[in-house]
């Protein structure tokens, strides 16, 4: 059984009076430890697919199974628990809380846990590992775009998730910083994390094991780029 199974997923949005089919019968299987890039032009349904895989967005029809869990058979709180334990999100706009320091942003998911957990040491180590040593007490506005992205990655990793979902993580970064971020993802993948990254930049395919091409909400092609390390 595949680690992630997506079966005939459909999603429509109503924009005014017009109904748009954002995803049409999308199906694919993804193995544990793979690095998938979801590519396609703007409006092809990449972000919608990612939000469905992240259980943030419910499909109109179809089924998504992760590690045997039928995602949309779970209630809202079970899905929240699933996200806490299985998923780490990294966004294009970083989505850091401006009133928390870098360290506090990284520690934010620990408050979501039902049990009281102390991961301060791990958070400091993560920031250090991502090259943010000494920036723990800085607020997001005091950090560069690349640094903010690395804080967001540290936050995604603090609960030791199986899967990293990244939505255009280099979209707001210069090419050098973007490359650094992609190297981090590559390294995380080498350590066994399953990564699904949405991008419109085909150069990013070099880092991935698989590529899924979407056009107008339909799967155009699925390519195996290299074997999993």
């Amino acid at each position: 059984m595949a680690f992630i199974e997506v079966e005939r997923v459909n999603k429509k949005y109503l924009k005014g009076k017009t109904e748009t089919n954002v995803l049409k019968d999308v199906s694919f299987n993804l193995g544990k430890g793979e690095f998938w890039v979801v590519a396609g032009p703007s409006g092809s349904g990449k972000s919608t697919l990612l939000s469905i895989l992240g259980s943030l967005n419910e499909p109109d029809s179809g089924k998504v199974t992760v590690d045997g869990f039928d995602l949309f058979g779970l209630n809202h709180d079970e899905r929240a628990l699933f996200r806490l334990n299985y998923l780490g999100f990294v966004f294009q706009n970083f989505h850091l809380l401006p009133y928390l320091t870098a360290l506090e942003n990284v520690l934010l998911p620990t408050i979501a846990s039902v049990q009281k957990i102390n991961k301060k040491e791990e958070a400091i180590n993560l920031l250090k590992m991502l090259g943010l040593n000494g920036k723990e007490d800085k607020y997001p506005k005091e950090l560069s775009g690349g640094e903010q992205e690395r804080v967001a990655i540290a936050r995604a990793l603090i609960m030791e998730p199986e899967i990293i979902l990244a939505d255009e993580p280099t979209g707001n970064l210069d090419s050098k910083t973007g490359e650094e971020v992609l190297n981090i993802f590559s390294e995380l993948n080498r350590q066994g994390k399953t990564i699904i990254m949405v991008t419109h930049n085909l150069a990013h395919l070099n880092y991935a094991t698989h590529a899924l091409f979407l056009k107008d909400g339909e799967v155009q092609e699925i390519k195996t780029l290299r074997e999993v390390n």
Partner: protein
Amino acid sequence: MSIWSVVYRQMKEKRAKVVLMVLSVAITIGGISGVLLTTFNLQKEVADYYDKIGANIVIVPQELTKGSAFDGVPFTGQKQLGIAITLPQKIKTIKNKESISIISPKVVVPTKINNQDGVVLGVIFSEELRAKKWWQIIGRKPQNSEEGLIGENLYEKLGKPQKVKINGKDFVISGVIKKTGSFEDNSLFLDLNTVRSMFKINSYSFIEVSALCSTCPIPEIVRQIKGLDPNIKVLAMADAIYDRKLLVENFNEFGKQMAFGLLALGIGNFLLIAFSLFKEREKELLIFRTLGFNKLKIFNLYSLEILAEILASEIFGSILTLILSFALAKMLGITEAYFFSWQYQAYALLGGLILGGVVSIIPVIKVSRLNEQEILREY
């Protein structure tokens, strides 16, 4: 890191709106409790006034014979028609008996005191002293039927004696009543039954009745007492504080309307600001949801913030109550006013919590139920 530190940082981040929200609730709480406290102060002032003036109803015989009154006070005696001895008991049976606090029957006898002309009043000391709270007594209250009180003028006129002789019987002066500017200054007060038996009197000269409350229906009580005996005249004393009572009533009405207005304004402001704050936090909510916060956690996060804001509002509301009730007391000329009442603060706290709870529950539920999909479209 705790949930509290996130709440604190959230509030610090949005301090302008938080301050506005706190002030809005504080003004509601302070305004309402300040107005209520002022109404209470006004009512208390009127009640205290009634307490001070003592009797507000005087019962006298229907017909007084010529020369049977002294300084407006009717005499009685063996040959005078007085008020029936049974009347005080009957008064205790009228419909509005609950409003009556003191019934003080008296006999007034002009007689020789230490061989000089004077007036003896037979009174029930326990009732009389309750009714005449303004009396300042030098000495002590009478302890038995052989002791009495004397008005300061008469006391001086008689040469400040320790004892007085009436009808051949000695009475000890236990206390002197300082001048009140009325017939009391020239009177000797003795035990009612002693005076009645000494002068063989079977009726009362007059009865003072006190209804010690600001809202008692005095004309109705007068009518009910009149109905008890056709041979009496019942006089309601001029309502010297009518204007004040009218002010209390008007202020009561104004207070109610102001309280409702403030409450509506407070709820409106609170809702507006709360919704605006929560609207701004939709992105924040998306972050919390993606990070795995469940609905209860999000509810707790926002509820704690509301709770902190309401508690802060209570503190500022209390200060505002103090300022407002002080200013209103000054403006309305209330001499003995309370500027702080634990009771009103407790009501305000409870009201604030209920108001905050009810009002905050709506946006909190709205936020915790928001569909990520809707927010995702915006961000």
